[in-house]
């Protein structure tokens, strides 16, 4: 008997979870307040689509801007900190420690500064996502194989050429993984901020319907956030695969590599 592939198993688990979500509440083991059935949640979502779509638009707008801040600022500061030894020694330990601070404690201050509208969410989530992007960019640039730079210099590459042709492409893999993490944190930041203090967005809907104990509507909002996060992750993975084709291409053709090795021993000596 052939063993099912991991992808098949993953899909089966997902189907099982969704099925349980539907079946368990119907059996009455769990009251609807704890877990409304999947069908009920979806029905509520469709019936109130205008409200949810508006909230989603607000959340997406905040997520987009905070990601721009996190990624743009993170790459810029990370490049400076990773590239300049002085800044690296001065700032990197500080930033690394700050990373461990639960930045959410700053959110009340942000609402005082920027109000309870979108601005405070964007600022908070931007900073929340900034750290992993900045740290991984700094790491990516700080750990570049010096032999590659030496080789480029021996070929007559100027400093701007060394940066454009060696430093940037060499640090892309680490920067991308930072972007994926930073983007995910920006989503979390926006939703958490909306749940804490706000008047709009999906996070706000979760809090609002939870206080009135309207579980189906709470779960409808949760479902949207789940979909949002999963879609972001899929896009990020796809972008990573596209950009890093040179990293993965070979793993797909191990056979060719082995053939190449046997050929390398003596292709031209004969």
């Amino acid at each position: 008997m052939q063993r099912p592939s991991p992808a098949t198993v993953r899909r089966l688990i997902l189907v099982l979870v969704l099925a349980l979500w539907e079946v368990v509440p119907l059996t009455g083991v769990l009251p609807e307040l704890f877990l409304p059935a999947l069908s009920k949640t979806l029905t509520v979502l469709v019936q109130n689509w205008a409200e949810y779509a508006h909230a989603l638009a607000v959340t997406l707008y905040e997520v987009a801007l905070s990601m721009a801040i996190a990624c743009g600022g993170g790459i810029l500061v990370g490049a400076l900190v990773g590239g300049l030894a002085l800044l690296r020694n001065l700032l990197l330990p500080v930033f690394s420690s700050l990373y461990a601070v639960p930045i959410v404690i700053l959110y009340p201050i942000f609402t005082a500064w920027f109000g309870i509208g979108s601005e405070s969410k964007i600022a908070f989530a931007g900073i929340y996502g900034f750290f992993p992007v900045m740290l991984s960019t700094a790491a990516g640039i700080g750990t570049i194989d010096q032999n590659l730079l030496l080789a480029a210099r021996s070929m007559g590459a100027s400093v701007p050429q060394q940066i454009a042709r060696v430093v940037i492409p060499a640090s892309i893999p680490t920067v991308l993984s930072g972007l994926r993490l930073g983007g995910a944190l920006a989503i979390i930041g926006v939703v958490v901020a909306e749940m804490l203090t706000s008047s709009d967005g999906i996070g706000y809907l979760v809090t609002r319907y939870r206080t009135v104990l309207d579980s189906p509507r709470v779960f409808a909002a949760i479902l949207m956030i789940l979909v949002l996060s999963v879609v972001f992750d899929l896009i990020a993975r796809w972008a990573e695969r596209r950009t890093l084709a040179w990293q993965t291409a070979g793993r797909r053709e191990r056979g060719a590599q082995i053939r190449a090795r046997s050929l390398a021993a003596a292709p031209a000596t004969a």
Binding site: D145, N147, L148, L150, A151, A152, R153, S154, M155, G156, A157, Q161, R165, V166, P169, A170, I172, W246, Q247, A249, G250, E253, A256, Q257, A260, R261, A264, A265, A266, P267, A268, T269
Partner: protein, 269 residues
């Protein structure tokens, strides 16, 4: 004695010097003050010659090579290449091959070979044509679209050699290029290098730890002593060319190898 060259090497070798190093010294700032790394090194490499530099670890042979490549600055002394001083990297005069193949992993073999040309904004067609020619020269025809991680260690060094030669510099400097390869690949690559050297008529300066490799490849072996690095012996390798693997088993080969070993051992005792 049957392998001794009583006829001159078939390669015409001009008397002109490709590289002239005069009174080269280097001192670097160590933890306990100044450390003399190289002391009064002088040497001449004739055009078209294959010169191998050997010596114990830390004798400064790599430093010497990096200075010839213009990648490191000496404290004093001069290095002339084709009569003009070396002040910085100049890929038109000197190509370099490193111990790690140092290929850019995000570029294909062909793009790696083209890299030095694209830096100088050479026209696309010319780049492709020259890189293709180099790929053929190093025996990798058909592997141009492979990425470095899809190539074996020996193939990577072939690409690296192609990259070093793509701007057609008269001099090729090689810093222990085969040190990371397994024994068999290393032998094959040495043989291949001699073929490429013969076809392109380059001047090669080659740094290695391996005495067998040194004798097998060289016209001339320079032996360096440990700190401060100095050249303590210069040995002509009068083995006929083309070199064959069988030569390694001969008495002449063994004696040459022994002489180099004695020099290195005497100084490090």
């Amino acid at each position: 004695m049957q392998y001794m060259a009583d006829v001159k090497s078939p390669r015409p070798q001009s008397r002109a010097a490709a590289i002239e190093v005069t009174g080269l010294s280097h001192i670097y700032e160590g933890r306990d003050g100044q450390v003399p790394a190289l002391q009064e090194v002088s040497l001449t490499v004739g055009a078209g010659r294959f010169v191998v530099i050997v010596g114990p670890s830390g004798c400064g042979k790599t430093s010497l090579l990096m200075m010839m490549a213009g990648l490191r600055h000496q404290s004093s002394g001069t290095i002339l290449c084709a009569g003009k001083p070396i002040t910085g990297p100049d890929p038109n005069r000197v190509g370099v091959v490193f111990q790690e193949a140092s290929l850019f992993p995000w570029l294909t073999a062909l793009d790696n070979i083209e890299f030095p040309l694209s830096i100088r904004h050479a026209p696309r067609e010319e780049r492709r044509r020259r890189a293709d020619a180099m790929l053929n020269l190093v025996g990798l025809k058909g592997f141009g679209t492979r990425y470095p991680h899809e190539l074996s260690g020996g193939m990577k060094q072939r690409v690296s050699i192609a990259r070093g030669l793509v701007q057609d510099p008269p001099v090729l400097l090689m810093d222990e290029p085969f040190a990371a390869l397994d024994e068999q690949t290393r032998m094959t690559m040495g043989h291949e290098l001699l073929r490429i050297w013969d076809e392109t008529a380059k001047t090669v300066v080659f740094v290695t730890h391996s005495l067998t490799e040194a004798v097998y490849l060289a016209d001339e072996v320079l032996v360096m002593s440990a700190r401060p690095g100095r050249i303590i012996d210069r040995i002509d390798i009068a083995l006929a060319r083309p070199r064959t693997y069988e030569m390694m088993a001969t008495d002449v080969f063994g004696r040459l190898r022994e002489r180099i070993w004695q020099q290195i051992r005497r100084r490090s005792d």
